[in-house]
Symmetry: C2
Subunit: 393 residues, 2 copies
């Protein structure tokens, strides 16, 4: 059957704060083919992705994303690959297009899973989904004391692993950062898995990252994430070659498969972190997961928004060995939590399981998120190119 509708809904908290919290807004995608509906989510900047869905054509390699999707056949996983390829080709010069494609790709997998009554991971070829040890993903406190309290709270909630990121880390002195990491370790306990996310704070500054390594090693931090901007491959490589027991993690900024491969091959990361909502969806994310596995690099999801995005980002490596961990945001804004009826909660062993329901295994809570809906209208040359459609199942 053919894709008859691709609708985008911009949902946002009433107030968006100037902090590194990606759960403050989201772009929900609804895809319809025949009687079936699938749901997805795009990272990031909802308005820009909406614009790329409907923008007028500039030339043959600069077309609106919608033109490569609407009316296309969607009966099998190979159709998803074909549509993704068409978007990448026809919208090659629309820089935003891969973020936009991501939510559409996710919705196509969800739709196909619902139609086949199979979870997405089975459509990807995995027999079963391994439970994952979730790491609680939170922002650093403004002070070491605040970080200590956060870490203690996380431990009390039963998490064995936690990632602290952004906030003041990397912006003050080496000693300030060492105190922050020591507070995280103290709060999480000697047995805890401590991860640190520098949020690209050092740009291309190798020396700034090197200066933090001794404290990270002393606190037995498992990984240092995003010391540099996405694509600073040679700087990543130089740090990875001297980071000792601290592995380097990165890749969330990858907006195509090549970028992720380069982080592995040229950047030397030990953990490759992929957001299915950015890289172009589940299809390219799965190819990166396969590639990472062959190269001995651990694939981990990047997720900092709703459980639609969490389920989508867990699928590509669902069948990878059970020992690996997964990102699990625990400071979600109400919008991101309210987005779904069901939630991916820890089981009795404290592990996270990929939903077993069809598709992504989650039901969008449309009534619940209606208060967050922002109506968008885009008019070009007197023609309405986009007007937020009614939010219906």
């Amino acid at each position: 059957m053919r894709i008859e509708a691709v609708d985008f809904y911009y949902l946002s908290m009433p107030e968006v704060l100037d902090i590194g919290d990606g759960s403050q807004d989201l772009l929900l995608v609804r895809l319809q083919a025949g009687p079936y509906v699938g749901w997805g989510e795009c990272e990031a900047s909802p308005l820009v992705s909406i614009a790329s869905l409907v923008c007028p054509m500039s030339h043959s390699a600069c077309k609106p994303v919608r033109d490569s999707v609407l009316g296309q056949t969607l009966d099998d996983v190979t159709d998803i690959e074909l549509i993704g390829h068409a978007v990448r080709t026809n919208s090659a010069d629309v820089l935003q297009a891969n973020h936009t494609l991501s939510g559409i790709d996710i919705a196509m997998w969800d739709l196909l899973g619902r139609r086949r009554d199979e979870p997405v991971y089975r459509l990807l070829g995995y027999d079963r989904a391994e439970p994952r040890l979730p790491y609680a993903s939170v922002l650093f406190g403004d002070t070491p004391q605040e970080t200590l309290q956060k870490a203690r709270g996380i431990r009390e909630m039963g998490y064995l692993a936690a990632k602290f990121g952004w906030g003041p880390y990397g912006k003050g002195s080496v000693e300030d950062d060492a105190e922050q990491v020591a507070a995280a370790r103290e709060g999480l306990g000697e047995e805890g898995i401590v991860l640190v996310d520098a949020g690209t704070v050092w740009g291309h500054d190798l020396g700034a990252a090197e200066a933090r390594l001794p404290a990270l090693e002393a606190q037995r931090v498992t990984w240092l994430e995003e010391p540099f901007v996405s694509g600073a491959l040679d700087t990543y490589r130089a740090l990875a070659e001297q980071s000792g027991s601290v592995r380097i993690a990165g890749g969330e900024g990858s907006h195509n498969e090549d970028m992720a491969r380069h982080m592995i091959d040229h950047g030397g990361v030990g953990f490759i972190q992929i957001d299915a909502g950015r890289i172009g969806g589940i299809a390219p994310a799965k190819r990166v997961a396969d590639y990472a596995f062959r190269r001995g690099v651990t694939y981990v999801n990047h997720t900092f928004t709703s459980h639609v995005a969490l389920s989508a980002s867990l699928q590509p490596f669902a069948g990878h060995p059970a020992r690996s961990i997964c990102e699990y945001p625990v400071e979600l804004k109400s919008l991101a939590w309210d987005m779904t009826v069901e939630h991916i909660e820890r089981d009795a062993n404290g592990l996270v399981n990929v939903p077993e329901g069809p598709g992504l295994g989650l039901t969008p809570n449309l009534e619940g998120v209606k208060p967050y809906l922002l109506d968008v209208e885009i008019v070009v040359g007197g023609k309405v190119l986009y007007r937020t459609p009614e939010l219906v199942a």
Copy 2:
């Protein structure tokens, strides 16, 4: 003084054709600081770049581009660097942001040059601008016969070099492509410099490109451009290692400095082609030009739209040795030609000179392009985020 206004104008041909012609629309940028005005141009997809200029903040690394520009000090070239850095940091997760920044950066250089009564290339540290041998940049004809006629016409216009690209090339058989290249050589003559642009047609398919090498070598083609998609670094490298006398060219898709460096270091290109309207403007383009020069790789502009974009893309390598060539589009749509009062025309020796007037050295022809102006309005949650301002000097 401070930047008081950043205005974007979406200009388009009445009809945009589904061909590889980037001159069918453009996004004109007007920047004002005190009594001074500067002009720039963004590639590509005007509506998407406008959306990224004004989009609501999603989180601390996902802000509208405008927020890092309006109100900032612009007195010196270091201010341009600071503003560029701020955009890259504050809008890191807005994928489109580097295209948007590009036009703003170009307008900042133009403004500063006008204020100092100096051409941009002097602000970049070059004492003089070398004349360039222009290559006429055109699309392949639909048939070898048509390409032959195009090539003859180009030769009659006095061009010694020409690039043929897109159209049917790479989509048919190896023999078809060989005939197209032979037609280009025949039309341009034995002494002509023939360049071929595959327009990323082979994706990641090394074999498809390899199969075309014998015909390219037989016709003494100087470069094969963009055989693969931007960022297929390892595929570029593999082709470059066996392409013999045919050098590999690429890089126009680079939307940041890292990508361009990787094309040189990991992709092994012999010519690095940078569009100042995509890479983030003249500032990062100049750094790439310096890097390429040190690495023995020839920097060439990528330009397929107005002479505002042409002047901007010629500045970063203006002081490089005189023997190098420059892209010069000769099939511009009327919009791109009408965009400026003055034009960068060949001199008596058939060479192209960077304008010596202040800034980019060109005057926007505002009355001339008003018929092409498309009014844009973007409303989110009942708030007008963007409405095309009046087009005034």
